[in-house]
């Protein structure tokens, strides 16, 4: 059994997440797309672990999940704070730091 289809699926999911980050404006949805990208990479890691018969890939995926959890906590708190002051969850509204 080849893992190539898994890797290709991972690439497709990553690309979709990427485009989502670039096109969606709702901060929460953007964040979801970031999670999608992380998950796509996790899939690749797990697939490669199987390809090489080595559990290090699964460990890496595990760490990615931990980091993602921490990231989500902080990121959502930031989104909440911004929403609380600006009454908006659009990433385009927070654009004062510019030229």
């Amino acid at each position: 059994m080849s893992v190539t289809p898994y890797i290709v699926l991972s690439a497709i999911l990553f690309t979709i997440g990427c485009v989502g980050v670039l096109t969606r404006r709702n901060a929460i949805v953007v964040f979801m797309c970031v999670e999608l990208m992380l998950n796509a990479s996790n899939l690749a890691l797990v697939a490669f672990a199987r390809q090489h018969g080595d559990l290090d890939g699964q460990i890496a995926a595990f760490f990615v999940m931990v980091v993602a959890a921490a990231e989500v906590v902080v990121g959502l708190a930031i989104i909440m704070t911004i929403f609380r002051t600006r009454r908006s969850a659009s990433v385009d509204d927070a654009s004062l730091l510019k030229y």
């Binding site: 990427c18 980050v21 670039l22 096109t23 404006r25 953007v30 990433v91 385009d92 927070a94 654009s95 004062l96 730091l97 510019k98 030229y99």
Partner: protein, 642 residues
């Protein structure tokens, strides 16, 4: 008689000062101390400062007189005394001492400067009595006298230059003394700037002296002068002439003199009679060892002198301002002196002789003019004078003495001195001589015109003017100067002045003039008489209009415009320099500043465009991140697949 063979150029070879001559430095130090006390002491000296300032030049005069008598007591060949004060500048080969040189030439100048200067100080006590800045004025006067004394006592060109510049500074301060008047401020600036042109010649000459002879001392240079090439001497002579032209208001640097009349009248007297303008003549006579070896430079001196002589005389004829007429006359008379100085050993003595007599009668007339102005509420327009002889008898009489002296009325001092110059000029070159004669005639005309318009003819006074005689503190100096104007010719008695100056300037060669001396004298008197008569018929017999008529001949109009000297300066020098400055300013502003600021501005402009990339949208940044990552991936692929 001094044992110098005829035609030989005398050298400066002084002996060290001893006895009474060791007081020489005091002559300069006294007025200098006066200037320092008055200018540094400030208003604490307001009450008594002008008396001190008057006493100090008188003290100098007394010392000068003592020194002069002591000098007369010495042998002819022993009449050069030097005093070494201290080492002034010692750098490498340049060794300049603060040395003073006292010889017959300086001794006469000393008497003139301190004598006439003291009288002018006395006169100023009356003239400046009500000026709020009187103390300052007297401080400047003392500074002026001290600088002039430095000039004539210095033993080297650098010391002379120190006095030279000091005189320039003091004249600037005094001409612009009434600085609240824009015209006075402008006149002071003009005098200063034009003098700087002359000073360039002077300083170049000093540098050339140092390069050629390794020294600026008169003693060294006069000994070594024969060894230099003719070209060097000619260049030196021309440079010195340029310096002399600036200081003595000779053509083409004459423009400042008439404007300098903006200063208080005693200043005009001091500048025009005793001190500043004679410096040029002094310089040329002092540098006789240069000019005697540079015939071309001498010719240049004569040409300049003749032009100035007629130039000043013509201006004197056209002006209505009494002080400007006298200023024109000064130019003309200095021209006579320069003419004599340019004629070589034959004329040096007469140049100095005329300088002395001119110092007397011109100081007399300037102070007289000041007295008239004093009585006429400071009005200087002669067309507003008339008939003043009854009301100002002392001024009138003393002025007449000066008048008779300047036109060369037989017996008066000017007669002797001017006659000698014309005689010498005729003997040298008949064209020059005729020009000098013509100048004498014109002098007779304009001075008579001045006399008639001021003291004779009917009254043309402004309303509310009550002419009155000046106080005795002003008239006594006038009387002294009038007496000197009358008696100044005594110097010529028994050929005193020629022989007295011979150790410095060389003996006067005895030539047979083309016309006998008596004939020349007679001719001169006749020419002057014609001038006087012309003035009598043109002015004395007619009504003098209160305002200057405009329908006048071209010559008169040109004379009123000072023969367009200012316009020529404007066209040739002032406007081009102004345009040059504007141009340089523009180059500096647009080219230099533009280059310097252009770079940053260009970078700033690029940045203004480039900063648009920083639009604040996090999604844009993410996009560039994606594109960058894509490029990296593509590059890696390209490298790996290649």
């Amino acid at each position: 008689m001094y044992a110098l063979s005829e035609g030989a150029i005398p050298v400066v070879d002084p002996t060290a000062a001893d006895g009474v001559f060791s007081l020489l430095w005091l002559v300069i130090a006294l007025p200098l101390a006066g200037a320092a006390i008055l200018l540094i002491g400030g208003r604490y000296t307001d009450k008594w400062g002008h008396y001190l300032a008057t006493l100090l030049p008188i003290g100098s005069f007394v010392i000068s007189l003592v020194l002069f008598i002591s000098l007369l007591g010495r042998e002819d060949g022993d009449r050069q005394v030097s005093q070494h004060l201290y080492d002034w500048i010692q750098v490498g080969h340049l060794d300049v001492g603060a040395d003073l040189l006292y010889d017959p030439l300086s001794s006469l100048f000393l008497l003139l400067i301190t004598g006439v200067g003291s009288l002018i100080h006395v006169y100023s006590i009356g003239y400046m009595a009500h000026d709020p800045r009187r103390r300052r004025f007297f401080g400047y006067l003392n500074l002026f006298v001290a600088a002039m004394l430095t000039l004539v006592l210095a033993e080297n060109y650098l010391g002379l230059f120190l006095g030279w510049e000091g005189v320039g500074l003091a004249s600037y301060l005094l001409i612009g003394f009434w600085q609240h008047k824009p015209s006075a401020a402008a006149a002071a600036k003009k005098a200063f700037v034009i003098n700087r042109v002359g000073d360039i010649g002077m300083s170049l000459a000093i540098m050339l002296f140092f390069i050629t002879f390794g020294s600026t001392s008169f003693t060294v240079i006069s000994h070594a002068a024969g060894g230099a090439t003719d070209t060097t001497m000619t260049i030196l002579g021309l440079l010195l002439l340029l310096g002399a032209c600036g200081k003595s208001a000779q053509f083409p640097l004459q423009a400042w003199l008439l404007d300098a009349m903006e200063g208080p009248t005693p200043v005009s007297a001091l500048i025009h009679a005793a001190t500043m303008v004679t410096a040029g003549v002094y310089l040329i006579v002092r540098s006789n060892f240069v000019f005697d070896l540079a015939p071309h430079a001498q010719t240049a001196v004569v040409v300049v002198a003749v032009i100035t002589l007629l130039y000043g005389a013509i201006i004197g004829c056209a002006k209505d301002d009494i002080k400007k007429v006298l200023a024109g006359s000064t130019m003309s008379q200095i021209g006579y002196m320069m003419l004599a100085a340019g004629l070589g050993p034959a004329g040096y003595a007469f140049a100095i002789f005329h300088l002395l007599t001119h110092g007397f009668f011109k100081a007399n007339m300037f102070l007289g003019a000041g007295s008239v102005m004093h009585g006429m509420n400071d009005d200087v327009d002669m067309r507003h004078y008339g008939g003043l002889r009854k009301l100002m008898p002392v001024t009138f009489l003393t002025f007449t003495m000066g008048y008779l002296a300047i036109i060369g009325f037989p017996g008066f001092s000017g007669f002797w001195s001017k006659d000698k110059i014309i005689e010498t000029a005729l003997a040298d070159n008949w064209i020059v001589g005729l020009c000098a004669l013509l100048g004498a005639g014109i002098t007779g005309f304009y001075m008579t015109r001045l006399m008639l318009m001021t003291f004779f003819t009917e009254k043309r006074w402004e309303k509310g003017v009550h002419p009155h005689e000046s106080p005795s503190v002003m008239t006594v100096p006038l009387m002294v100067l009038a007496a000197l104007s009358l008696l100044g010719g005594l110097f010529l008695l028994n050929d005193f002045i020629q022989e007295f100056l011979a150790p410095v300037v060389g003996a006067v060669p005895h030539e047979d003039p083309p016309i006998p001396a008596l004939g020349v004298t007679l001719l001169a008197v006749v020419v002057v008489a014609v001038g006087v008569a012309a003035a009598w018929f043109l002015i004395g017999k007619r009504d003098v209009p209160r305002t200057a008529p405009q329908d006048v001949s071209f010559v008169t109009r040109a004379g009123r415009e000072e023969l367009y000297g200012n316009q020529v300066n404007d066209v040739l020098v002032v406007n081009p320099s102004r345009r040059l400055t504007t141009g340089i300013l523009a180059v500096d502003k647009y080219a230099v500043d533009g280059t310097l600021t252009g770079g940053p501005v260009a970078i700033g402009a690029v940045a203004m465009v480039a900063r648009r990339v920083q639009n604040g949208y996090v999604r844009s940044y993410a996009l560039s991140l994606l594109v960058g990552g894509l490029i990296v991936v593509l590059a890696l692929l390209a490298v790996n697949l290649a």
